[in-house]
Point group: D2
Chain length 338, copies 4
């Protein structure tokens, strides 16, 4: 992305982070984790793929698990406001000079017409507008567990060049809610949103394109504690990678887990409203030790270094570009972006 093009076309009106497709090597193990343990609802499943959603979601899925030979991220999906925004996406990314493909309704189960893009950062994006409606479980308390995931909220991606990535997202009309910077003004990590929350996507400095994590929210903190207790009872405490804890950045109460393929999923609460145009951008110093953990906890190294590779539109694993920043800064900054 060093010689980034810019587009003259208007960008699509992106509503929000909407869905994710993961390639998993053991579909049954993943089903156990996401459905039996985390309690996500299954909209559809067969021997090759499982479509899941959280309790307040009424679209067909927010997570697709697809059986494959090697763990990877196959699709990161955004919903756009109208069918015209699919046209806009096609034009916009076309002008950016990246690969763009229009796909017919149903090419992803449950969704309408699609635009697939290999974005300038290397991520395989999916834009959709129409989606099949399914039952919203908001009040299906008879199906609630001791922890109940409500909505897919955001993605966190690793990318080597934060300023370029940040500009790319600003051009797409994402706004910044919080950032980590140093005293020279260098930005190490950005939280950016379309829906009026802290983020739909966070940018973290690191080797990329890789997906650091995706996140679902719950209503209350005890639900996150229960997930830990539950994993303990299953003697799967190794699924817990980091947390529970409180982020300085974003104020989220978080838990990071690794699924059976090592994909990282966060469950968190809560968000704050960012929908007014003058919503203050919160800047954190890279030297503030509570930026990563409000409680001052140190962070397990795997959380800095490990992440999920992503596929291109031909389902081939994308090569990873190495972050070229100072090692010293990396040591200090490390997980700031997370």
């Amino acid at each position: 992305m060093s010689t980034a093009k810019s587009a003259t076309a208007a960008p699509p009106d992106i509503l929000r982070a909407a869905a994710l497709e993961l390639v998993v090597t053991d579909l049954e193990a993943s089903r156990n984790f996401y459905h039996d343990v985390l309690g996500l609802l299954i909209t559809f499943e067969n021997a090759e793929e499982i479509h899941l959603r959280a309790f307040e979601e009424y679209l067909h899925h927010s997570l697709v698990l697809r059986k494959g030979p090697a763990a990877a991220v196959r699709r990161i999906s955004y919903r756009v406001r109208s069918p015209r925004d699919l046209d806009a996406a096609e034009r916009y990314f076309g002008e950016l000079g990246v690969r763009v493909e229009r796909r017919a309704k149903g090419s992803t189960r449950g969704l309408g017409e699609l635009v697939h893009v290999q974005d300038p950062l290397g991520f395989p994006l999916e834009f959709f507008c129409e989606a099949e409606h399914v039952e919203r479980y908001t009040q299906r308390y008879d199906a609630f567990g001791a922890a109940t995931l409500l909505r897919l909220d955001h993605f966190n991606i690793l990318t080597p060049d934060i300023p370029a990535a940040r500009q790319y997202l600003l051009d797409l009309n994402f706004k910044v809610s919080e950032e980590i910077r140093d005293e020279l003004g260098t930005t190490f990590a950005s939280w950016m949103y379309r829906k009026p929350s802290v983020h739909d996507i966070a940018l973290t400095q690191g080797d990329g394109p890789r997906l650091h994590h995706f996140a679902f929210n719950v209503q209350e903190r005890h639900e996150i504690l229960h997930i830990c207790d539950h994993l303990g009872a299953l003697r799967q405490s190794e699924r817990i990678e980091r947390g529970p804890g409180r982020h300085g950045v974003s104020n989220a109460f978080y838990l990071y887990m690794r699924d059976p393929d090592g994909h990282r999923v966060e469950v968190f609460t809560a968000n704050y409203y960012t929908g007014d145009p003058d919503n203050p951008v919160k800047i954190w110093s890279v030297h503030d030790n509570q930026r990563r953990s409000w409680w001052g906890h140190s962070i397990i190294p795997s959380w800095y270094t490990e992440a999920s590779g992503v596929l291109n539109l031909d389902d081939e694993l994308q090569p990873v570009a190495t972050h070229q920043g100072s090692i010293e800064l990396k040591a200090t900054v490390g997980a700031d972006g997370y």
Copy 2:
């Protein structure tokens, strides 16, 4: 009980309120309520009876549901410290002149030798020491629901003559934690304990012998809220009779439900420690409108007037003696005891 005898024998060393046997008319409906909705664990079941326990309990059962022609309470069970206390119970109640029966191990499934008593208040008591141990689910978080009942805590009984009933329990070495009285010193309701909690049994002024309710505790208040949400989702909100709310007396956060036969069950949290000998007795004025509900809520009339009849040792429904106190006082005092 107007001409109550007293005993010279030492009373049995009662550990705590331990179990309850209910006659229910539709075993499947009761199973659905106590197991499927409230989440009690089933230790044993057949076509005639279901034995259930809560998650921190390791004895065979704390609740027995027995199929029968008419709803009633068949047994109220206390655990005693040692086998010698069964002998003590036999002697003690023998001296009181009430019916006492020694029964062999296994006459109640899961329990050892028993002493059954028709107590001076008319209640069918069961004393046991030995009981079969089963798995304690304290850390079986994989089996936890959004509300998880932990322990049977207490009984609340209706009896017409509170001073007599109170003295009977004091003689059995129960201690008083809280009481409702008027300015003349009349006691309208007493909370009395053996284990160091607010109560194992509460005495409420009213037509008796009847069981007002029995109670299980949970750890946190949101669990009680979930039970309400759950019943709402099942379109069984009529199971909710009173609450959720906070008692003045006892400080419990409570919910009262009616099971499919109308038996009243409370789920509550929390208790406070009363184990020091000088634990202050808290006296509430019968004129304090927050004694019933710390939040000042008014109380549904059924909660004052309805309760479960009890059987005698021949499984015949006990007649109910009418409370002879002033109607006026009853109107004012009413649910104070609850």
Copy 3:
């Protein structure tokens, strides 16, 4: 409003329900309730007025208490996206034929230029764009109480003609999230939003213009329970009018209180996201007894009948028009709209 005009001008782009000004008769008593008990932060106060905000708010105030001779609602404030939307509001309401006044920056303390309107329903609206920024207390956990109000969320108004009021708000580009209707398609109550939540304003059938309540949210349910316990400890349980409980409509866990002047304030959690254009509208039958209370609780009559009068732009109390619907329906439907 029977001969409602419509406007050809574009309506202002309203961001959200933003603030409220109440006339209170005893400023100290109100300060005690909103600041000492509910914990709202004070941005400014003098002998005549107190400006308060909740913990996640960074604008000058969301609640103004103004000393006056009789309790009333003086202003209901919406924030608009840009200064141009003030012009739009001026034109739009001008075309509707209602009284419109442009007021200079500072005429309401802490806000920029204003448009004041006596809207077609009779409510004294305030539109603002600019506002003074103050400290956002999102992470000021050192100042958190056992209950911490986070944001003003919505208004609920009483108005006699729901279809007309609903159309008026649709014209202002409010969207419907949930409604109560009968089998003939009559709408009895509507929840309508601009920000992607269940509502910024709810319409309730009744004598109006009156304000039924305004609402702040908290993060977790135990905070609402604490408010009740706190009022109990202060021997002010009479402040609690209804709840805590769960609404069927909106799924909110609620508590309604009456402030020292009888103004009704709700504290609730939580909201669900409604920001996608195809967000399903949830229709409740007026005959569904869980629509008002998911737990089937009956509702105290005052909650149906009492509400706050509103002032016109000359600070005179507005006369109230009586709802002309069938008494029978009213009896059944009553509080549905709430």
Copy 4:
């Protein structure tokens, strides 16, 4: 304690862990931590000492902070059932051959007559029966914070010879609830109780006599999370040493903090009932990685190695005996006892 005497006299009837006196070097800093941050109530204070209690406690104090030149533990206090148990304590410890002193009422402010003992493990014990009663804040919700400490619950001590210490406590009629052992039957840590909870005292293998920590309980887990958030907001996250987390042993949800002098205090919830004579003893393998942390978290080294020295009855710091067990075992076992 290698040549431990045994006593023929009956041991005193100990009710429970009751209080603690800490020497602190900066009384104001400690006051800030225990009163302003943790919210303990102050019963008495002057320039030399502060007496604090938790919200459900009605005795004069459960924590005394005394100004002194070096941080240490001055007294560990147990309450006994009756004045006769003071005599029993005097005889019993006299027979054990350790230093015993009878002290007059008031020699510790707020308490009656005392027996002070330098116990065989080297700890300065205080036994009392009478104590001044003060207001119990159980329902003083107007004074509740977002976290409200309810009762002092237990002590955890470091001592080199666990089998000897365990036998000493068994002789005092403490019972074991849970233990960590290896496959050879060696006990590495024991949780022992008088009141029917998991423990009044826990024994941890290590250099001693030292106090590892003392613990207060709260009702719900979110209160513990708030303490962390609060410390974060005060920029005192360094007070948080370990947690929040869930113990395998005891099932407690815990947080360990270090006060301004480095004394370690735990806040936790919840306890389970152990009051029946056949309460199952839970044995954990020293090789079970969830025994220390149910969630599998690793433990900060300071938590293993640092602890508070204790004074003798002449207020001189007690020398510490080194644990003689295998270094290898120590590395593996380490914090098991905690």
